[in-house]
C-alpha cells in the first residue's frame, strides 16, 4: 500500500504548486480593498485543514497491508 501513499504525496506536491500559482495570481493582480485577500485566506485555511485531517487519518491507519493481485 505504500505506493499509494507515495502517489498521494506526489499529488500533494502538484496541488501545492497549483495552489501557489493561483494564490500568486490573486495576490499579484488583485487590488487593495477587493475580495482577493479574504479568498486567499479562506482557500489556504481550507486546503491546510484538508491536508492536516488527511495526514492524521493516514497516520492512524495501518499501511503495511500487502495487496495480492
Amino acid at each position: 500500500m505504500t505506493y499509494l501513499l507515495v502517489l498521494y504525496f506526489v499529488f500533494l506536491l502538484g496541488f501545492m504548486a497549483y495552489s501557489a500559482a493561483g494564490i500568486y495570481h490573486l495576490w499579484r493582480f488583485g487590488y487593495a480593498g477587493d475580495l482577493t485577500r479574504p479568498i486567499i485566506i479562506i482557500y489556504s485555511f481550507l486546503a491546510i485543514s484538508i491536508i492536516i485531517v488527511s495526514l492524521i487519518a493516514i497516520l492512524t491507519r495501518d499501511w503495511s497491508i500487502v495487496v495480492n493481485f
Binding site: Y18, H25, L26, A32, L35, Y43, A47, A57, R61, V67
Partner: protein, 254 residues
C-alpha cells in the same frame, strides 16, 4: 494609502469611473459543479461512518481518495475564482480597458481610447439575462481596431450610457485642448512680433490672393432647411439645362 495601478498603463491622474466584472450568475456554474462533485464524496463518507466493518484496505483507499477529491474540488473553486474575479472591464476618463484572465497562465489586456469609440450598444438576450439584468455591451471602434465586447456584465444599459457620456466628455476635452494649443501658437506669434495675419512670410502671402479667396468663400452659404436646398437645386438644374450639360467634376456654386 499606497497608490496601486489597476492596469499597467494607468496614469496617476487617471480617474477610474467604472470597474465591472461579469455577473455573479456566470460564476454559479463553478459552485454547481462543486456541489455535484461533492455529492458522491459525501455519500462515501456517510457509508464509511455507518459501516465500521469495512476492510482496512478499502478504508485506506477511502482516506486517500476523499483527500484527493476534496483538494481537487477546492482547486476547481480556486480556478473559477481566478477566472471570474480577475476578468475585469475598466472605464477611466481616458480609455476602456479589458483585462481577460483565462486560467492561471493566460492574461490579456486590451485598451481603447475613449475618443476612438464610435458607437455603444447594449444587448440583453435570453431568460436569465433578462430576469437577472445582465447582458452584453458592444463598443464599436473607429478604424481597424477590433470591437470591444463586455460580456455578461450587470446593468448593461447604464454601463453603455456611462461610456457614451465619458466618450463625449473626452471628445470635448480634446477639442478644448486643440483650441488651447492653437491660441497658444497665436500668442507665441504675437510675442515674436508678428501679427497672425502677417505670418507666414510676406512673399507667399503675395503669391496667394487671399482676399479673392475670402470673397469666394463668402459666396457659399450653409443651408440646412431641406425645402430651401431643393429649391436651390431645382433653380440650378434649370440654369444648367439652359446653359448646356454639367461638366463632370465641376463644382456647383449655389
Amino acid at each position: 494609502m499606497a497608490y496601486k495601478k489597476l492596469f499597467p498603463a494607468q496614469d496617476e491622474s487617471e480617474k477610474v469611473f467604472l470597474l465591472v466584472r461579469k455577473h455573479w450568475f456566470t460564476y454559479v456554474i463553478f459552485w454547481f459543479l462543486g456541489f455535484i462533485l461533492a455529492l458522491p464524496a459525501i455519500g462515501v463518507i456517510a457509508y464509511w461512518l455507518y459501516n465500521q466493518n469495512i476492510s482496512p484496505l478499502a478504508g485506506n483507499i477511502i482516506v486517500l481518495g476523499e483527500s484527493v477529491y476534496c483538494l481537487v474540488a477546492l482547486g476547481l473553486f480556486l480556478y473559477g475564482i481566478v477566472d471570474y474575479y480577475l476578468d475585469i472591464y475598466i472605464v477611466t476618463d481616458r480609455r476602456i480597458v479589458d483585462i481577460e484572465q483565462n486560467g492561471f497562465f493566460h492574461r490579456q489586456i486590451s485598451e481603447l481610447y475613449l475618443r476612438e469609440v464610435q458607437d455603444v450598444k447594449a444587448k440583453v438576450d435570453g431568460f436569465f439575462p433578462t430576469t437577472l439584468h445582465y447582458g452584453q455591451v458592444i463598443i464599436q471602434t473607429a478604424g481597424e481596431t477590433e470591437n470591444f465586447i463586455f460580456d455578461s456584465i450587470p446593468h448593461p444599459y447604464s454601463v453603455s450610457k456611462k461610456i457614451m457620456d465619458l466618450h463625449e466628455a473626452s471628445v470635448g476635452r480634446n477639442r478644448a485642448k486643440s483650441k488651447e494649443s492653437t491660441s497658444s501658437n497665436t500668442d507665441q506669434l504675437e510675442i515674436r512680433g508678428y501679427s497672425v495675419e502677417e505670418y507666414p512670410n510676406n512673399e507667399k502671402k503675395q503669391e496667394k490672393p487671399e482676399e479673392t479667396k475670402i470673397e469666394n468663400v463668402k459666396k457659399y452659404e450653409i443651408v440646412t432647411n431641406e425645402d430651401e436646398v431643393k429649391k436651390i437645386m431645382d433653380n440650378h438644374h434649370e440654369k444648367n439645362s439652359e446653359e448646356g450639360t454639367l461638366e463632370e467634376g465641376k463644382q456647383i456654386d449655389i
